[in-house]
């Protein structure tokens, strides 16, 4: 302290040495805050629950969506992003669907840097579980003619059975997509099964795994082009061409793919990169995620109001303590600090519990989905920080009320 406590007095002998300022070390302030909560354990616990729920919700939403994105990227990593899908677009000047020329597959496969090409063609026949199911009841399953190298081109996997035979045996063969198999009620583990395609029986020899890069195959029944030509008069005009390039040259291939597929009317050809769409979808936060984050925010807010509420009551109850501390030398600032630290400690405990809970939810959900776990450190630190901010704001009002209390009134027996 630089200024003397008293105005200079004429009587020199009476001028006392200045009184050293009262202090409250940060360590003592923290100890006081913790002590204040220890005295009211049950209440502090209940009050922290609100904060914990809010933080847990926010951390879990951040963690789960990050893990989901990590999973998508891992899947793309495995499948590769070097695919193009070539489909017929709109014809100019009419609403008719354009067609790809039959020789487009051969031309595309001759392009530099193209590693593999495979096509499918939709056939005008239906697939049914048995011949007595009405022809209109297709359950959305389409019948596609597929070339034998489709599976290897798409890096696809079979969930069960085998891929299409090169040479037919007793029955012509069909491979079902994963959705088609479940909708048609085909289960290979129950033994060999037949489905009715067009006007004859086909043997189901395999079921595809999910095809993230070609989701249109999930609800499809695939038969070989040879069989399609022989049984259903397939003309060789593909509806989708799948193309795998060397990863570095995909943009160059993309630029020329349309003109290569149909040199006469390249504007009637659509070229897309399915991995782009998947990445974009993964990067966009769904409305559901936003809703959950909002709910977490509301819980956090309610938790903050809870802390403020309980602290106001606590200040009223602890008038005596405040008065004693003021009598023992605490300044208004020290009282304010004490109650603010108490609110912060309480919020921090809630925040910590929330981060642990949210982390546990993320890990549990991620494991159950078979995802890689991704818990962003920023999200965890942000959770604690958000709790502290809420606690600080919640503590401001009660702390200033405590500080304003007149010590003379506070110590009077009520």
């Amino acid at each position: 302290m630089t200024a003397p406590l008293v105005a200079p007095s004429t009587d020199e002998s009476r001028s006392p040495a200045p009184v050293p300022r009262s202090v409250l070390t940060p360590r003592d302030a923290l100890a006081l805050g913790v002590q204040g909560l220890r005295g009211r354990r049950g209440r502090a616990l209940l009050t922290s629950v609100g904060i914990a729920i809010g933080i847990a919700a926010i951390v879990a939403v951040i963690g789960i969506s990050a893990s989901s994105k990590a999973n998508v990227l891992a899947v793309l990593d495995r499948l590769g992003t070097n695919y193009l899908t070539i489909t017929p677009g709109q014809t100019l000047g009419s609403d008719e669907q354009a067609q790809l020329p039959p020789e487009s597959v051969g031309r595309l496969s001759l392009l530099d840097h193209v590693q593999s090409v495979a096509a499918t063609a939709q056939l005008g026949v239906t697939v049914r579980r048995t011949d007595v199911v009405p022809a209109t009841n297709t359950k959305g399953t389409v019948v596609l003619a597929a070339e034998p190298d489709l599976l290897s081109t798409l890096n696809g996997r079979l969930r069960g059975g085998r891929w299409l035979d090169a040479t037919p045996r007793d029955y012509p063969t069909v491979v079902l997509g994963v959705t088609a198999a479940s909708r048609q009620g085909v289960d290979l583990s129950a033994g060999g099964q037949l489905v009715w395609i067009g006007d004859q029986w086909f043997a189901v020899v395999g079921i595809l795994d999910e095809m993230p890069l070609a989701p249109e195959l999930d609800n499809a029944a695939l038969i070989s082009t040879a069989v399609a030509t022989q049984k259903f008069g397939y003309q060789g005009s593909p509806t989708t061409v799948y193309l795998r390039t060397s990863p570095a040259d995909i943009n160059g291939v993309r630029d020329v793919a349309a003109a290569t597929a149909d040199p006469v009317s390249p504007q009637e050809v659509d070229v897309t990169r399915p991995s782009d769409a998947i990445e974009a979808r993964a990067a966009t936060d769904s409305a559901f995620t936003t809703l959950l984050l909002g709910l977490g925010g509301v819980a956090l807010l309610v938790g903050g109001v809870g802390i403020a509420n309980v602290m106001v009551i606590s200040v009223l109850e602890r008038r005596g303590e405040i008065g004693v501390r003021r009598a023992l030398g605490a300044t208004r600032r020290h009282i304010r600090t004490q109650f603010l630290v108490e609110a912060l400690v309480q919020a921090a405990l809630g925040g910590l519990a929330g981060v642990l809970l949210g982390g546990a939810i993320t890990v549990g959900y991620g494991l159950s989905m078979g995802w890689p776990i991704d818990l962003p450190v920023v999200g965890l630190a942000g959770g604690i920080l958000a709790a502290l901010v809420v606690g600080g704001v919640a503590g401001l009002y009660p702390a200033s009320r405590a500080a304003r209390l007149e010590p003379a009134q506070a110590v009077r027996p009520s």
Binding site: T25, Q35, L328, A330, A408, P413
Partner: protein
């Protein structure tokens, strides 16, 4: 006469209102180091106002109050708080021990705002506990202590900082008469050891223990005796 630790010079204190309520009316009073003074008066006499001013908990409307030589006039909250913490020790009627702490921690709290390190706080608090005869109760919580023991802890808390002046406000008011006598005996001992004491009470019998008695009524000092002699 030794150094004055408490000086009231023509102090008036009024509480706002219309008309203002005059709680202290031209009070002049000096307490010197080593004295034991009892302030006696019925309720409404201005005792509590006097205590608030003595305790640097309030400011006089006019007049001068000096505590340990420091004029209260012109001191801000920081400085008043520091003065309370350094120069004064308080003993309250209802003890005001903090329920969440042990007796020792309660006593040690008096040194927190002086920045005394925790280990030294405990040491000095233990010594103060021994001094009031409670060396064996340091780990107990206030709820586990009797009224007399609680007041002893409160006295230890008031003494631990070695203040210039100990203010006791009806210290026996919440105690049975036997325990009250024990507490008065403790004050007697402290006085003999040189502690400056101001005891505020409405009870003439309690006040009789003090060598110097100051009677207050309607905000005025009406009688002042020292060792039975009116001065």
């Amino acid at each position: 006469m030794s150094r004055p630790v408490l000086e009231f010079v023509d102090v008036i204190h009024e509480y706002p209102g219309s008309p203002p309520v005059r709680a202290l009316d031209h009070v002049t009073l000096t307490v010197s180091a080593g004295e034991w003074v009892a302030i006696v008066g019925p309720s409404g006499s201005g005792k509590s106002t006097l205590l608030n001013l003595m305790g640097a908990l309030d400011q006089p409307t006019t007049g001068t109050v000096r505590i340990d030589g420091h004029d209260l006039a012109g001191l801000d909250d920081e400085q008043l708080s520091a003065l309370r913490g350094r120069a004064l020790g308080f003993v309250f009627q209802s003890f005001h021990l903090l329920a969440g702490m042990t007796a020792l921690e309660n006593v040690a709290t008096a040194l927190v705002y002086r920045g005394v390190p925790a280990a030294e706080r405990r040491e000095r608090a233990a010594a103060a506990m021994s001094r009031v005869g409670l060396g064996h109760r340091i780990g107990h919580r206030p709820a586990q202590l009797s009224g007399g023991e609680s007041q002893r802890v409160a006295i230890a808390r008031a003494l631990v900082g070695a203040p210039s002046l100990v203010l006791a406000d009806e210290p026996t008011g919440n105690l049975d008469s036997r325990t009250g006598e024990e507490i008065m005996g403790l004050f007697q001992e402290l006085h003999r050891e040189g502690t400056t004491l101001v005891l505020i009470t409405h009870d003439q019998g309690i006040a009789a223990a003090a060598p110097r008695r100051v009677g207050i009524r309607d905000g005025k000092i009406v009688v002042s005796t020292r060792d039975g002699v009116t001065v």
